[in-house]
Symmetry: C2
C-alpha cells in the first residue's frame, strides 16, 4: 500500500427524510425516517465541482478510507482513496454513504419501524437501485453538491452508478463502474438464491422477526458469507492462497471438522461477518441486485445521457466477469453514449476491485482526471479496449 | 433416449462383513456388519470375463438402470446402460453397488451401530476411497468375479475407479473415469466446505445425533444440495435452461420469495433431495473426496499398473473440469501407464456425465469394446487427445 493515506475520519449521520416528508420508493411505499451514515474526505472547492461519490458494494459501509482511531484498521477502499491515490483527496471531495437497506448506520430492515416500535424485519419494503439513489441524491443536496465530478463503485456499487447516470446524467460527469453488471445471469441469481435460502431457512430466522428475540440466524448468514467468498475469489487465487494446505500438516489424521486452510479461511469470514452485518440487509441488497435490469426499462432514453462511462473488469472474476462489463458497454454504445471497457489482468477474481494494482489504479485515476480518452494498447472486438 | 432399455430390475442386499469378520478400514477401525445394496444387469458369461462395474457419484445409488415398477422412473444412468447402449447389457454383466457410507441400502453413518443400538451419527469412522473399494471388491468375490472387463464411474465414481486400478490393476482391464479428479482444488474443497458448514451448523443437526430424534437438518442439507446443483450446471446451461425468466412473468411485483425460474429449480432440487438422502452421508462422502490424493501416496507403484485408462471430461464442467482429467492422465502417463484424455464439447457442465451425447456415448462404448486405441482426430499438448 502507498505510504500515507488519510488519518482519522469520522462517520456522520443525518436524517434526510423525516415523517413529514417521507422517501417515496419506486414501489409506491413511503419510508420515514430515513437516516444516512456517511463520510467525506478532502475539501469541497468553492465552485462545488470536485465531488466524487463512492457507492459501496453489498457488504460495504460509509467508512471507505482512513481510520476510526486504530491506524491499522482502515476503510474498505483505503487503497484507492487518499492523498495521491487515484481518488486523490487533495484534489477531490470524496463522499461515501452507507446505502439504504444497509445495516451500518443507514435505515434498513433492522431499523425500528416507528409505526410499531419494533424492527421492520420483512415488513421493510423491497428496494430497487433507484431507491438507493434517491437517498444518495438527497445527501448530496444536503451537502450542497449539485453535480458530481465523478461517481464510482464496484459490484453493487457500480450498479448504483450506472442507474444514477442513466436517470440523471446531468448530475454525473464521469461514471466508473468496476466489475459491475447491468443484468445478473441465471448463475448469479442462483448463487444469491442459495445464500438467501441459507438465511431464510435457518430455524432462527423466525420469519425475519429475530431482531427483538434472543437469537439471530447466525448460521444461515455465515453460510451465505462463506459462499460469497468462494465466488469473490478465483479458482487460481484460491490455489495460490491455500492450495491443499492443511493446518494439521500433511500427515495429520483426517477430520470432519475444518482442516484445510481454505476451510479455516471461510470459517473466519463467516464468523466475523455475523458480528458486523445483518441477515435482513443481506436479503434486501442481494434481492435488488437480482431484479436490476436498467436496459430493459422502456423509459430509458440514452440520447440524453451525457455522462462518460468507464467499465473496468478483471479477467479472473467469475462473479461479475468481463462479459457483464462488455454487455453494459455495448448497451451504452448502441445508444450513442461514450463508454469504454478496460479488462485488467488479475488472478484475484472479483475481490480484485478492493485490491491494489498498478494498472487498475492508473486506469481509474485517468478516468477521473483525464479530459482525453485513455491510451488504448490493443483493440478488442465490439469496441472493447484492453490495457496491458 | 434410445427406445428400449432394461425392464424391471431389483436391488439385492448382502451382508459382506459380519461381526466375526469385520471390514478393516484404512484408518485401522473395524466395521461390522457391512451390508451392501447392489443391482446387476445382463448375464455373466461362463468365463466370468464380461463384468463391468459401475461406481456411482456422491448422490447416486445401486439403481443405475431399468426401473423398479414404474417404467417412467428409471435408474440414474439408464441413458448409458441397457441393450445396445454403451454399457450393452446384451454383452456385459453390469454391477452397480451403493457405496460404503451411503444411505441407500449400504451401511453408512445412518445405520445402526450394533454396539449401541442407535444410529452411528458422527461416531461412524471417517472413510477413504480405498474403504469403498474394499466393499466393492468383496461384492465381486461374492458374485464370483475375479477380474473386470471394465470399471467406469463419473465424478466420485471415477475417483473410485482410479484408486481401484492403481491398487489392483490385475482386477481391471479398462478404467473409464468420467469428469473425475485425482486431487480436489482449493475451490473444490471450499465448495464442499460450505455445504458441510450448512449441514453441521444447522441447529437441527444436533452434533450428528438427529437420527433418533424428531427432526433432521433438512434445512442444511437442502442448502448443500442447492449449492451442489449450481456447481453441476454451467453458467451457459443455466442461461439456456432458465435465463432470467420469472414464474410471475416479466411485469410481476418483486418478491423476497422464489420468483426466478432458477430459484424454483433449486428449491425443488433441495426439497426433493432431503426426502431421499441423509445429511451424514453427504458429510462423509464429500469429506473423503477432499482428502483423495492418490498420486501423492508414497506406496504408489505405477510400473505395475497394466490397466488402460480413458479419462473423459466436458468442456463446460467447472466442478471437475478438463484440467482435472489432464492432471490425472499426465500423472499416469508419466509413470508409463496407458492413459488417454478425451474432452467432449457440451454446454451442460458437470451434469453432462449423466446425459446423453452421441460423441460421449461413442467414446465410452469404444473404450469398453475396442482392442485398438480409439481414433484420435486431433492431438493436443501433453498427450491429450480431443475428439470432435
Amino acid at each position: 500500500m502507498t505510504a500515507g493515506g488519510l488519518g482519522r475520519v469520522e462517520t456522520r449521520r443525518v436524517v434526510l427524510f423525516a415523517e413529514d416528508g417521507p422517501l417515496r420508493l419506486q414501489s409506491g411505499a413511503a419510508l420515514a425516517p430515513v437516516e444516512v451514515a456517511y463520510e467525506t474526505y478532502g475539501t469541497l472547492d468553492a465552485a462545488g465541482g470536485n465531488a466524487v461519490f463512492v457507492c459501496h458494494a453489498l457488504s460495504g459501509d460509509a467508512h471507505a478510507a482512513g481510520h476510526h482511531g486504530d491506524p491499522a484498521q482502515r476503510g474498505w477502499w483505503d487503497t484507492i482513496i487518499g492523498p495521491g491515490r487515484p481518488l486523490d483527496t487533495e484534489r477531490y471531495f470524496v463522499v461515501c454513504a452507507n446505502l439504504l437497506g444497509g445495516c451500518s448506520g443507514t435505515t434498513g430492515p433492522a431499523s425500528v419501524d416507528p409505526r410499531t416500535g419494533r424492527a421492520y424485519g420483512l415488513r421493510f419494503p423491497l428496494l430497487s437501485v433507484r431507491d438507493l439513489l434517491a437517498v444518495h441524491r438527497a445527501l448530496l443536496r444536503h451537502l450542497g453538491i449539485a453535480r458530481l465530478h465523478a461517481a464510482i463503485g464496484g459490484s453493487l456499487g457500480g450498479m448504483q452508478v450506472l442507474q444514477w447516470a442513466l436517470d440523471h446524467p446531468e448530475e454525473i460527469e464521469r461514471a466508473v463502474l468496476v466489475c459491475a453488471s447491468a443484468r445478473l445471469s441465471a448463475q448469479n441469481i442462483a448463487l444469491t438464491a442459495v445464500a438467501r435460502a441459507a438465511i431464510m431457512g435457518d430455524p432462527e430466522f423466525h420469519g425475519g422477526d429475530y431482531l427483538d428475540g434472543p437469537s439471530r440466524p447466525r448460521h444461515g448468514l455465515s453460510v451465505a458469507r462463506r459462499l460469497g467468498h468462494v465466488t469473490y475469489l478465483s479458482a487460481e487465487s484460491m490455489r495460490r492462497k491455500f492450495d491443499r494446505r492443511r493446518r494439521g500438516g500433511p500427515g495429520a489424521q483426517m477430520t470432519m471438522g475444518s482442516d484445510f486452510e481454505v476451510e479455516h479461511y471461510l470459517d473466519h469470514q463467516g464468523e466475523s461477518f455475523v458480528e458486523r452485518f445483518d441477515a435482513l440487509s443481506y436479503l434486501y441488497l442481494t434481492r435488488l441486485m437480482d431484479y436490476f435490469d436498467p436496459f430493459a426499462d422502456p423509459t430509458l432514453d440514452l440520447a440524453r445521457v451525457s455522462t462518460r462511462f468507464l467499465a473496468v473488469s478483471f479477467d479472473s472474476d467469475w462473479r461479475f466477469g468481463s462479459e457483464h462489463s462488455r454487455h453494459l458497454v455495448r448497451s451504452l454504445s448502441a445508444g450513442g453514449v461514450e463508454a469504454r471497457h478496460v479488462e485488467i489482468a488479475s488472478p484475484w477474481g472479483h475481490d480484485s476491485f478492493l485490491l491494489e494494482g498498478e494498472e487498475y489504479h492508473r486506469v481509474v485515476a485517468e478516468a477521473l482526471g483525464a479530459e482525453q480518452p485513455q491510451r488504448v494498447r490493443r483493440a478488442l472486438p465490439d469496441g472493447v479496449a484492453r490495457l496491458g
